[in-house]
């Protein structure tokens, strides 16, 4: 994926875009199968010198929860999570996402893993950032086949949260008032190409700006500081994108000298708690 003219990868650009969207918040959580958002969240934390708190659901190190897997959802229900990320096998122009199936639900042609926490978190997390690296008419559709979670709700439905943006491989869309607006086109792509490959209608300005490329400082931070942290949860992704910067990911993590927690050798702290 490395371009001949550029010194950054697509994944690095997308992570940089997402890190900017995260903004100044207290707590960012990242769910399963989200290596690019995880990169972005860790990047935001490095830039903020430990702020925001970052919770990677499948991580042991980057995860402060002690009350079981439900604590994340209880936190979100109270408004203690500011940013979350969701994707979809299909995403439509109303911001509906489909993580379940294509075709008739009872007899699907294609089955995806499932809705995960989307049917709850999409409603209660104030800034949900949608991401989809395949930008095509197959994935960005006029209407999803199955609504894992709707983009908007009726006025009487409790909904402090919802989508604010969709980060795709060709461009960045913002989301407001029930529809998407083209914000910027990534380097190397064009508005015509975005229109050609997007299955839903969207608003667009007369001229769309180009998405800023990651700065050398950002790239250095991602490759040297973020990538090794990422390798715990996404070893394949970290090795594939950031390559040699990453230590061997398949080693057993702690010293197994004792199974007793207070006898275990202290591991390096991740810095998330300051």
């Amino acid at each position: 994926m490395r371009s001949a003219r550029r010194d950054f990868r697509d994944e690095e650009l997308l992570a940089d875009v997402i890190a900017r969207l995260i903004g100044d918040v207290r707590h960012v959580a990242v769910g399963n199968a989200s290596p690019i958002p995880a990169t972005a969240a860790l990047l935001a934390r490095e830039r903020g010198h430990g702020k925001p708190y970052v919770s990677l659901l499948q991580s042991r190190k980057h995860n402060f929860f002690t009350d079981g897997a439900r604590e994340l959802f209880d936190c979100a229900g109270q408004g203690r999570i500011d940013v979350f990320f969701l994707s979809g096998g299909q995403i439509d122009g109303q911001g509906n996402i489909n993580l379940v199936s294509i075709g008739d639900y009872a007899h699907p042609q294609v089955r995806f893993p499932g809705s995960f926490g989307s049917a709850y978190l999409y409603y209660v997390v104030p800034k949900v950032i949608l991401f989809r690296t395949e930008h095509s008419r197959r994935t960005l559709v006029p209407r999803v086949d199955f609504v894992s979670a709707p983009g908007t709700s009726e006025p009487n439905v409790y909904r402090p949260g919802g989508p604010i943006a969709l980060v795709a491989s060709r461009c960045l869309f913002s989301f407001a008032d029930g529809h998407f607006t083209l914000e910027s086109v990534h380097p190397g792509h064009t508005v015509a190409e975005v229109i050609e490959n997007t299955g839903f209608d969207f608003e667009r300005p007369d001229t769309a700006p180009e998405t800023p490329a990651p700065t050398p400082e950002t790239l250095k931070l991602m490759r040297e500081v973020v990538a090794p942290q990422l390798a715990e949860v996404y070893p394949q992704f970290a090795a594939g994108v950031f390559g040699a910067a990453v230590p061997s990911p398949f080693q057993v993590e702690p010293s197994a000298a004792s199974l007793l927690p207070h006898n275990r050798k202290r591991e390096e702290t991740s810095g998330e708690n300051g």
Binding site: N32, A33, Q58, F65, T66, D67, G68, A69, R70, E71, F73, D74, G77, L99, V100, S101, Y105, A106, H107, P108, Q109, V110, R111, F112, P113, G114, S115, F116, G117, S118, A119, Y120, L121, Y122, Y123, V124, F146, V147, S148, A149, P150, S153, E154, N156, V157, Y158, Y234, P235, Q236, F237, F250, Q251, V252, E253, P254, A256, L259, P261, H262, R264
Partner: protein, 280 residues
């Protein structure tokens, strides 16, 4: 608190197959998510025993465990929020079984499963949960109901019935001879055990002493009161990880993803890694 040692409550550990006896055909069985102590040695033993028609609740998601049980035709109904092999791609036997209609799927969302078990834990018939309204997840769940919040004003909210499993099954770092099990920060394992009628646990090793006697250990301990049987199964999560103790076996998971892509390859996997003990 009564000292269990004086009441003849010690629970000698048993063989893996004996420990799994409560899991009969048709059992409503709850198991933990892929990074919380998945009992893979026990799962392979259940497949060798040809357990049938399980109603599996994977709290709240699953990976290799559900895929193996589905491929080995042990499951009638699957209730979970997602099944995938993560970085190793889709779960092939799950995908094939859902598209062919071989299993009944009860699609959920993660906090709904936690809430259903919490209801059972409290002995109440249901738990309310935000979100869900207007989704097809709710639309296809006849057992979930939206009501108007009795304390609000035109505020629809979803009620989820309690999930009361017949058996909770998981793997943990250690247990003592009183059946107390150290689960550390994996608190969902305690919720599963509180909610279930019976709890079966496999552990890496036995702890010499009483886990409840040391306050540091007691805070992370599931009391033997909730535990029906314990069996030692070293590296019992392999090839999945046991948090804080060993990592996933990535090479093996990649091999599984490759073999399980076809029915023939999956049968070969079972022969090599599940049934091999039978040949001995």
């Amino acid at each position: 608190m009564t000292d269990m040692r004086d009441n003849g409550m010690a629970k000698p550990t048993t063989s893996l197959d004996e420990a799994l006896a409560p899991i009969q055909d048709g059992c409503l069985l709850v198991v933990p998510r892929e990074v919380s102590g998945v009992p893979m040695a026990a799962t392979r033993a259940l497949i060798r025993r040809s357990v049938k028609r399980l109603h599996l609740v994977a709290l709240p998601t699953s990976s290799l465990q559900a895929d193996l049980l589905i491929g080995a035709a042990c499951i009638a109904t699957l209730e979970t929020s997602a099944v995938s092999l993560g970085e190793f791609g889709p779960a092939p036997r799950f995908t094939a079984a859902v598209t062919s209609g071989a299993i009944a799927m009860k699609d959920a969302t993660c906090p709904a499963l936690h809430a259903g078990l919490q209801a059972a834990e409290k002995g109440v018939p249901f738990m309310p949960l935000r979100g869900l309204i207007g989704s097809d997840v709710l639309k296809y769940r006849d057992d979930w109901k939206a009501i108007d919040n009795p304390f609000g004003d035109c505020d629809p909210i979803v009620l989820l019935p309690a999930i009361k499993p017949e058996v909770a099954l998981f793997h943990a770092p250690m247990a003592d001879r009183f059946g107390n099990v150290w689960i550390g920060r994996q608190r969902e394992l305690a919720t599963m055990a509180h909610a279930a009628v019976k709890t079966v646990v496999t552990v890496e090793k036995l702890h010499d002493g009483d886990l409840l006697a040391d306050p540091l250990l007691a805070a992370g301990t599931l009391p033997g009161f909730y535990v029906d049987s314990v069996a030692v199964a070293e590296r019992g999560c392999w090839p999945l990880p046991l948090p804080d103790h060993y990592a996933a076996d990535a090479e093996h998971l990649a091999l599984y993803a490759k073999l399980a892509a076809t029915a023939e390859g999956f049968a070969e996997y079972l022969d090599r890694y599940v049934y091999e003990k039978r040949a001995a």
